[in-house]
């Protein structure tokens, strides 16, 4: 609680300093809008922001993150269980992170048009990576002494996987998932920047083109808030799934 109090005080003073700085130096609004102008822009367009464009972006984020988890876990299993996977799939997964997505946009639009799948594809491309890395590291950290113990109890490979490897891999998997959650919001936004007719990314791009910096800032603020809340949701699920992990740290 005390930590949150400090956070609120720091943010409030930053906002005050920002407001004072802009007003004192007379910075034009289209260069750097003061917080009050951002708030005003939000107040003017809130229904459009919250009920038209936010749902579109959120839907892309959920779909992208869900598919990232499915693809990420599948890739991690292949990498962990087969030598070919480790030698072929892992480098390819890493290579996928070096793709400059903006350069790829004409192709993505050609493939998916302006449909939701182009944005989902970008979201997956950005957010499946931390999930794969987390899951692979988690599986590779399997304690062999536990595997031996399970074998002496007569456990099958499947029982060892379910009762030892999965629980032991969960903390690393959730670390990856938390990174992926925030990245997925960025992914959906970039996807919309590349070509869309709705969504917060599209809306912020239009505001930017019209030099409506206040509206652009309001949109970005809403986006980061969405990412933040998504992160907290994952953390909430994590604390309920692996309470022993947090208890251990105490």
């Amino acid at each position: 609680m005390k930590k949150n109090k400090t956070l609120v005080i720091v943010i409030l003073s930053l906002i005050l300093a920002w407001e004072g700085f802009v007003r004192l130096l007379g910075v034009p609004t289209f260069i750097l809008p003061p917080p009050t102008a951002i708030l005003a822009a939000f107040g003017k367009h809130w229904d459009l922001l919250l009920f038209v464009h936010l749902p579109v972006t959120l839907w892309e984020v959920f779909l992208g993150l869900f598919l990232s988890i499915v693809i990420g876990i599948a890739a991690a299993m292949m990498i962990y269980y087969s030598e070919i996977g480790a030698k072929v799939i892992y480098p390819m997964v890493i290579a996928s992170q070096t793709i400059p997505i903006v350069a790829l946009s004409p192709i993505l639009i050609m493939w998916f048009g302006y449909s939701i799948w182009g944005k989902v594809a970008v979201t997956i491309l950005i957010s499946f990576f931390p999930i794969v890395v987390g899951a692979v590291d988690g599986l590779r950290a399997t304690n062999q002494d536990w595997v031996h113990l399970m074998k002496t109890m007569g456990a099958s490979g499947r029982q060892i996987f379910l009762k030892v490897q999965i629980p032991q891999a969960l903390p690393a998997f959730f670390s990856g998932l938390k990174v992926a959650a925030t990245a997925s919001v960025i992914g959906a936004t970039i996807g919309e920047w590349l070509g869309a007719s709705e969504g917060l990314g599209f809306f912020s791009r239009r505001a930017s083109n019209n030099l409506q910096a206040d509206l652009l800032f309001a949109t970005v603020l809403l986006l980061s808030l969405a990412g933040f809340i998504l992160f907290l949701c994952i953390q909430w699920i994590e604390r309920r799934s692996i309470p022993w992990f947090y208890q251990e740290k105490k």
């Binding site: 002494d145 002496t152 109890m153 007569g154 030892v164 629980p167």
Partner: protein, 257 residues
């Protein structure tokens, strides 16, 4: 007493970075029904490997392992209590102890019910729903022992189970182990580097050396049971202890040559 497990002329070696390391060659040993045998040896001579051979985690390069009168599989038929308690931090005490029953296919609820029956005699009735991290070292070892017992197998392999405990708790656990062993009628094979512990608990002691060739040197423990807690103060005990210390010392100086 009939023989429970027997190593018949077995050899076993390891491939390591520094070449082949031989642990056992042309080796014989055996454990009988309801017998308590300890294995003492200098660290690094491969005591844990002997245990893993008994458990069936390793198979010998040559020779035969006879188990329950034949060449029967040992995995799933022998209980192991590892050096660290190896309790799973994501399982409660009851869930940890129920693990071997669960693996044998007994439904979780039934397994946990069975565990609950045994908690009082292990002094664990108040911590059934706690996680391992909340328990003391001695208590965690008791959970680990209960888990090994609940496997229901006749042969129990204990790998330096008390080495991480303080002297007082260790003594307490030794007394407790003796009582549990008599009550449950099991065969116990204990690895330890504590000579007093081996003398206090066992019927026979095996001495192991690096690159063991042939049988272990065997020392029968002559003290009748039940053994009293001040056994380690008697003249015979001290004499036998120093004899074993000397034998181990000779083995060590021989190794260095």
């Amino acid at each position: 007493m009939s023989t429970l497990i027997k190593f018949d002329n077995i050899s076993f070696s390891f491939e390591t970075d520094r070449g082949r390391t031989t642990i056992l060659s042309e080796h014989d040993s055996e454990i009988k029904e309801n017998e308590f045998v300890s294995l003492i040896g200098l660290s690094g001579c491969g005591k844990s490997t002997v245990l893993k051979l008994m458990a069936g985690l390793y198979e010998p390069d040559s020779g035969r392992v006879e188990f329950q009168g034949g060449n029967h599989p040992r995995l799933g038929k022998v209980s192991l209590m590892p050096q660290q308690d190896m309790l799973m931090p994501w399982r409660t005490i009851i869930e940890n102890a129920a693990l071997p029953l669960e693996i044998q296919g007994i439904p979780a609820k039934e397994a946990e019910k069975k565990v609950r029956e045994f908690l009082p005699s292990f002094g664990l009735e108040k911590v059934g729903h706690a996680f391992p991290r909340e328990l003391s070292g001695g208590m965690r070892q008791r959970v680990s022992f209960l888990r090994a017992m609940l496997g229901g197998h006749h042969l129990l392999l204990l790998d330096e189970p008390f080495s991480a405990l303080d002297a007082f708790t260790r003594r307490e656990m030794q007394l407790w182990l003796t009582a549990a062993w008599r009550e449950w009628e099991r065969s116990i094979f204990l690895i330890t580097h504590d000579i007093e512990e081996a003398l206090f608990l066992s019927d026979r002691i095996y001495l192991m050396e690096k690159g063991q060739r042939g049988a272990f040197q065997e020392i029968p423990v002559p003290f009748p049971r039940p053994r009293s807690t001040d056994l380690h103060l008697t003249k015979e005990f001290i004499q036998l202890r120093s004899e074993i210390t000397n034998l181990l010392y000779q083995k060590e100086s021989y190794e260095k040559k």
